[in-house]
Structure formats: structure tokens, C-alpha cells
Amino acid sequence: MSDHQVELQTRRTPGRFARAWDSDLAYSFRRTPVAVVSAAVVLILVLSAVFAPLVAPYDPFDPASLNLMNGFTPPGQPNALTGETFFLGTDDQGRDVFSTILYGMRISLFVGFSAVLLAMVIGVVFGLLAGYVGGWVDSFIMRIADIQLTFPAILVAMLIFGIAKGITPPEYRDQMAIWVLILAIGLSDWVQFARVVRGATLVERSRDYVLAARLVGQRPFAIMIRHILPNVLNPVLVIATISLALAIIAEATLSFLGVGAPPTRPSLGTLIRIGQGFMFSGEWWILLFPAATLLALALAINLLGDWLRDALNPRLR
């Protein structure tokens, strides 16, 4: 009898990993090859970016280590002047393209993650407020969102970037550039979070459990955070994933246009901008490799987001 009880208990409280492995989401993940491959690509790219100082053979952000004479070395071939060989070649400044991509991807990913986090926090807070409080608060927040939606996000980001650059003293501009990018992309991206959360909140707030919480006398703030928020998180997660891909591309776009990461600390977009100048002259590797990396990263994250949307959609289960 007692033995039986023990057995029952272990079955009832399996380990955290086992529970996750058994979940619907994990099951769907295992059954979707696209998701598995995408996840693997993202994992490899993110890990190599995070551990760039260990993986990359050179530190491209240390100007003293650069030798201009190594400039324009083709991939895998020795440089005509210095005899050094680089796996993916070098750019116009003699920087190793492979190392620069890894370090550049760090900036792209950091900016992407931070910007989405910022957009998510702002969007969720305003979405909850608009949906739960309603009335003029709702109208006010959503009209601001509507107005912002009429401007293309990249335009808003450029505007914010321009203003921020204007008010920061020039000696801090290089260090500030990354934070300004995060701010610019984050602020241009909060609207869709807010709209989705507001919509979900409108549905949730008339549910019985919310009514019960209100009857018990819980304060609105506690209801929003403790009861409604966990129930609107699924769509937020999906948007966040897809937004991440978009934020990385937005960063690349801004840097490509020359208003983002500085050329001495290039992100993927800056690298593509630099490489673009050598498109006609046969130095294809400066453009191709960073562009291919950006494509792989954005595509993989996007596919993951797509899968997540389908997996979390009860109607498609």
C-alpha cells in the first residue's frame, strides 16, 4: 500500500524538464522540423555571438591590432603584401571579416533583445491600462498608438535617433550610439504589443475569475498584474519573437543608412554598408558574409516565431 502511494506521487510530480518535455508545446516542437532547424541556427548564432571573444581569432574592435596592409584579403587566400590568411577574408580596413561578423552580431542581438524588451514593457503596461481601465485612458493611449502607426517605424526610429544624437555631447556619441539605437527601435515598436495586450485584456476582464477577484476587493493594479497578465502573455510571446527579427533588421537598416552603430564598432548593418561600397569592384566577401549572417539570423527567428504562433493557437491544435 505505501509503496503504491510513493509510486503515485512520483508520477504526479515529475521533474521540471520532464514536464516541459511532455507539454503540448514541446511535442509540437519535436514534430516540426522547421522549428528544430531554426532553433539550432539561432542557438549556434547566439552562442557564437555571446562567446565571440573566445571564438573569434581577432578583436576587430581594438584599432591597435589592425593592420591596414591586410585590407581586402580574399577569403582563404594569403594577402599579397603581408602573407596572412583569413578564413572569410578582410574588409577595407584589414579587419578579419569572420571576427567582425561575430562581434557585429553581438551588437545586433544585444540591440534587438533590448529594444524588444523595452517595447514589450511599454506595450504591455499601456495595453493593460488601456484594456482594463478603459474610458478616456483607453482612448488616449490608443489614439497615440494610432498616430504612431501612421508613421513607418523606421522613420520614427530615425527621428528619435536624430534628436538623441543632437542632444548628446559629441565625446559620448560613440558609446551612446548603441543605447540610442535601443531607445529608437524600442519606442518605435511598442504599439503592436499595446494593441494585442489591450485586445486580450478586454476579453479577460469580463471573465468570472476577474469578477471574483474584484468582489474579493483586490486592487485593480494587483488584478492586472497577478490575474490578467499571465493570461495575455501567449500572444505577447509570439509578437516578441517576430519583433526580435524585425528589431534586428531595423538596427541593420539604421546602421546601413549610416545613423546606427559607428564604423569603428560595426554591427551587421554597418558591415553591410561598408561592403556595399565594394560590390562593383569584385570584393564580394565584405558584403556577402555579413548579409548572409543577417539573413540566417532574421529568417531563423522569424520561422521560430511563426511556429510559436501556430503552436499556441488553440484553433490550430
Binding site: 581594438d62 584599432p63 591597435a64 589592425l66 593592420n67 591596414l68 596592409m69 585590407g71 581586402f72 603584401l81 577595407d92 580596413q93 584589414g94 555631447p169 559629441p170 565625446e171 556619441r173 560613440d174 549610416g258 559607428p262 564604423p263 569603428t264 556595399q276 561600397g277 565594394f278 560590390m279 562593383f280 569592384s281 570584393e283
Partner: protein, 523 residues
């Protein structure tokens, strides 16, 4: 007139019209900063204005002085301070007003007035007087044998037009002012302004009553000028036939353009030296207050000069399209010699100098750099960041369009900046006058270094007035020795000038990079 002749005449005029209606679509990296002829002494600005306005004396594409609005000039044999210029008769401005001596007097006075950027060019001019409608007398402060060579960029405008449009005063560019003259033109030049959208597009059309209509090829009836900042977009525009003629050709694209049978390149060493200027005063603008200025120490400046690897810049960044420079003077200029131009790279010696100066641990500084003015300007600055890092100098690169860059230099808001200097007079005096003389209203107007050497200032004025050319050359040599010993500028190189164009555009490259479309032919 019979029907046939009428028809033939109509056909004829139609044909001629067709032959003449050629548009030159012209692109380069940056736009003119203004249309006010006296507000900015800057290459591309003057290049655009030269299509619409004219000086008394012009420098033609061969680099020789040519009569433009003045037909001839002479110096008084008894008094070398007095010059007489005879003006061309029958010249009209675009609005139909006649060009006379009062316009010359007015234009000179305007070019010497407050805010004018051309003062340095004619700083030797004491007064300009009209002797008759077509004769002007210019008196200089002391004799100036090189006066005519100083005039090709002093453009003439109509006095009545300026007065009627309240634009007698020169535009204050650094103060961000816009005036009627900065957006409109009434000159005597071969082309008239049709429309202008700054940084986007400027359209010009041939001026029918141009005095030289019969004397010059004037192969194009219209000009469309478009600045295209991005180098590969600029080349792509030429390849796709979107434009016919580009300046500031990206060096990496030369080979491909050359290989295309429908395009051609004309090149020549350019009369322009590219260099860095250093703030030599006691305090940095963008530094920690009271920390002192490492650049005030001549040894530090010398160390930075030695750290620049000009050969690497030539071979990699410029792909051979530059000539390393050891002095901020193009080889065309009177006063240049091999020895002055020699310079070598020595990192170890540079480090030792830094140590000796007490800056062995290095320092950090901001480098201000244009990104749409000189060939590969930003890439050169970027390469410099790496080279100076080797001697412990941490450089923060601030690259931006020239419209934001130049005010930093002129407003003394930069500690370390890139600048290029062409010498239209082909004489050293022009360099000392603008770049070495203590910054003031009349002299040293482009000296952003805060360098002030009273002895050099004295001599700058003295060589302007020295008529004994041998003694003058000796003084110039002495001045260069003094200037070089102080290393206030770090010379980089002389650009090789390339113009790329459709093969049916007939243009001879001008060593000053000054496009004058009236000399162009169209096949």
C-alpha cells in the same frame, strides 16, 4: 517666302534645336553649400557657381589664366600698387541688366565685407574704383605681382539686383542664415538657374545672351546637378545611364568603369592636398577641462605625424590613387620641393617621442571627419584610428556630412579634423594666408588650429608684397621650414583626380577639380 523655304526653315530650326537640346546630368558626392558667391570658399560650392557667375579673370581647364569679364589688365609701370582692368563690353546679367564697372566695385566690396569667406583671397586689395563704365582700378596694399591669379574665384554679381532683393550683405553660413542670394542667382555666366532643391537637385539652362556663346563649345543646353553621397550608388547611376558625368569617382570602381566601352575616365594629379589639423591651444574643446592639451606639445604632434602610414593608405584605401604628402602643399605650387615633401613612418620613434613628451600612456581625442567631401575621407579617418592606436592615442571618430563638418572647423569647435586644400593661385602665399596665419577676419580664415606665429604672420604679408621673385622664393622656403618644424598639420596625400563620364561627353579634367561646363562638348 514660299511654302518650301518656310518648311525647310522650320525643319532646319527643329533640327538645330534637337542638336542643341543636350542635357548634362552631373553628379558628385556633395552639394554646393550655398549659392551666395562670397559666402563659402569651398570647392564644390564654387564649382556649381562657376556655371552661373563669372570672375574678371578665369582659370581655364589647362590651369592658365584667361580673360573672362575683364578683357585685359595691366599694372601701372610707375606704381606697382595700381592695376587697371578693362571690362568686357556688351555683357548682360541673366535678368537683362548690363554689366558695368559699378557691379565690379560692388562685388569686390561685398567680397571684402563682413561674413565673406573670400576676404583671404583678396586681402591685398585696398580699394576698387570705377574709372569709367568699362574700366576699373584696383589698388593694393603694397605691390602684389600675383593679383590676377587671386581673382578667378571672385565672382561678379549685379549691384542693382542685390540691392533690390535686400541681399547686399553676405550670408552668415556659420550662423545658419539663408538669404535671397543663397538661393537665387543673377550672374553673367553661360548657364542660368532654373530650380534648386539643396542636397537634391539643381537645374540650369543655357543663357541665350551669353557674351561668349560663339567663343566656347557650350555643348550642353541644360545641366541637371545631383549630389549622390553614397559612392556605389554614384557609380551605379553612371552605369545605368541615370547620369552622364560624375566627379569623386570611388577608387574601387575605376577598373570597372574603364572596362566599360560606353564610359571613360579622364584623370590628372589634383591640385589639392588632404591633411589633418590639430588644435595646438592650451585646452581641448572636447576634452576634460583642466587636463591640458597633449596636442599643444610639438613632440606629440610629431609622433602622430610619424605614426601615419601614408603608403598603406595609398595602397589599400586609395588603391594607388594618391601621392603621399609630407607638406600641406600640392606639387604644382610655387615653393614645393621633393625634400619638403619627404616623410617617413616610424612607430618606434613615435612611441619614444610620446614617452619623452610625458604622454607615454597615451590620451584620447575626437577626430572630426567629413564623409561626403574627399575621396574615401571616412575610410582614411578610420585607418588613422588604427594607426594612432599603435602609439597609444585612442581616437573617437566623428564622421559626418561636410555641411556639419566645416562649421566645426571654422567655428574652432574641433581638436583634430580632416581638411583638403586646393591652391587656385598656385602659390604658397595662399596656404600661409588661409591656413597658417593667426585666425582673424581677413587672414587665417580656414586656420582651425589656433596656431599663431607672429613671425610667420609678418612674412605672410611680406611675400604678398615682395616683387623681387628670387628674394620672395627664399622667404617662402624659410617659411616652410618654420611651418614644418611646428607640425600643426599632419599631411596625408595629394589626390589623383578622376572624372568618369559617358564616352560622348567631351571634357578635359581640370586639376583644380573645377568643372566649367562651357568648355564641354557633346557628341
Amino acid at each position: 517666302m514660299t511654302k518650301q523655304t518656310l518648311l525647310a526653315a522650320t525643319a532646319m530650326s527643329l533640327l538645330m534645336g534637337a542638336a542643341q537640346a543636350e542635357t548634362l546630368r552631373w553628379a558628385r558626392a556633395g552639394d554646393a553649400l550655398t549659392l551666395d558667391p562670397h559666402a563659402q570658399n569651398e570647392g564644390p560650392t564654387l564649382a556649381l557657381m562657376h556655371q552661373m557667375m563669372e570672375p574678371l579673370v578665369l582659370r581655364n581647364p589647362d590651369g592658365e589664366l584667361e580673360a573672362a569679364l575683364a578683357t585685359d589688365w595691366s599694372v601701372d609701370p610707375d606704381n606697382p600698387e595700381v592695376w587697371t582692368f578693362s571690362l568686357r563690353e556688351g555683357v548682360t546679367f541673366h535678368d537683362g541688366a548690363e554689366f558695368t564697372a559699378e557691379d565690379v566695385v560692388f562685388s569686390f566690396e561685398r567680397a571684402l565685407s563682413e561674413n565673406s569667406d573670400m576676404k583671404g583671397l583678396i586681402s591685398s586689395v585696398a580699394s576698387v574704383e570705377a574709372l569709367s563704365d568699362y574700366e576699373v582700378e584696383i589698388t593694393t596694399n603694397g605691390p602684389n605681382p600675383l593679383l590676377p591669379a587671386a581673382l578667378p574665384n571672385i565672382l561678379m554679381i549685379d549691384k542693382d539686383w542685390a540691392e533690390a532683393n535686400d541681399t547686399v550683405d553676405v550670408q552668415d553660413v556659420e550662423g545658419g542664415e539663408e538669404t535671397f542670394a543663397s538661393q537665387n542667382v543673377n550672374g553673367t555666366g553661360p548657364y542660368m538657374l532654373v530650380s534648386r532643391e539643396p542636397d537634391v537637385r539643381t537645374e540650369m539652362t543655357a543663357f541665350e545672351d551669353y557674351w561668349g556663346a560663339a567663343d566656347f563649345p557650350i555643348g550642353y543646353s541644360d545641366i541637371v546637378y545631383t549630389p549622390i553621397q553614397n559612392p556605389s550608388t554614384r557609380t551605379a547611376a553612371l552605369f545605368s545611364g541615370e547620369v552622364d558625368f560624375i566627379q569623386d569617382v570611388p577608387v574601387q570602381d575605376l577598373e570597372r568603369i574603364e572596362a566599360d566601352p560606353s564610359l571613360k575616365i579622364v584623370s590628372s594629379p589634383q591640385n589639392r592636398v588632404i591633411f589633418y589639423g590639430l588644435n595646438v591651444s592650451d585646452e581641448l574643446v572636447n576634452g576634460t577641462p583642466d587636463a591640458g592639451n597633449p596636442l599643444a606639445d610639438g613632440q606629440v604632434r610629431e609622433a602622430m605625424n610619424m605614426a601615419l602610414n601614408r603608403d598603406a593608405i595609398r595602397d589599400v584605401v586609395m588603391r594607388g590613387q594618391s601621392i603621399p604628402a609630407g607638406v600641406i602643399m600640392p606639387p604644382f605650387v610655387n615653393g614645393w620641393n621633393e625634400e619638403l615633401n619627404s616623410v617617413s613612418t616610424d612607430i618606434e620613434a613615435a612611441k619614444a617621442l610620446m614617452e619623452e613628451a610625458g604622454w607615454g600612456d597615451g590620451f584620447s581625442i575626437q577626430l572630426d571627419c567629413p564623409n561626403d567631401r574627399y575621396i574615401n575621407d571616412e575610410a582614411i579617418c578610420q585607418a588613422t584610428v588604427g594607426m594612432l592606436a599603435q602609439i597609444g592615442v585612442t581616437v573617437n571618430l566623428n564622421a559626418q556630412p561636410k555641411a556639419q563638418h566645416f562649421p566645426l572647423v571654422n567655428g574652432l569647435e574641433s581638436d583634430f579634423y580632416m581638411l583638403g586644400w586646393g591652391v587656385p593661385s598656385y602659390d604658397s602665399e595662399y596656404i600661409f594666408n588661409f591656413l597658417y596665419h593667426t585666425k582673424g577676419d581677413l587672414y587665417g580664415t580656414w586656420n582651425g588650429t589656433r596656431y599663431s606665429n607672429p613671425e610667420l604672420d609678418e612674412m605672410t604679408k611680406a611675400i604678398a608684397a615682395e616683387v623681387d621673385l628670387e628674394a620672395r622664393d627664399e622667404m617662402i622656403a624659410e617659411m616652410w621650414d618654420m611651418a614644418k618644424a611646428d607640425t600643426v598639420y599632419l599631411p596625408i596625400h595629394h589626390q589623383v583626380l578622376n572624372w568618369a563620364m559617358d564616352s560622348d561627353v567631351g571634357a578635359a579634367v581640370d586639376p583644380d577639380d573645377q568643372v566649367k561646363v562651357k568648355y564641354f562638348t557633346a557628341d
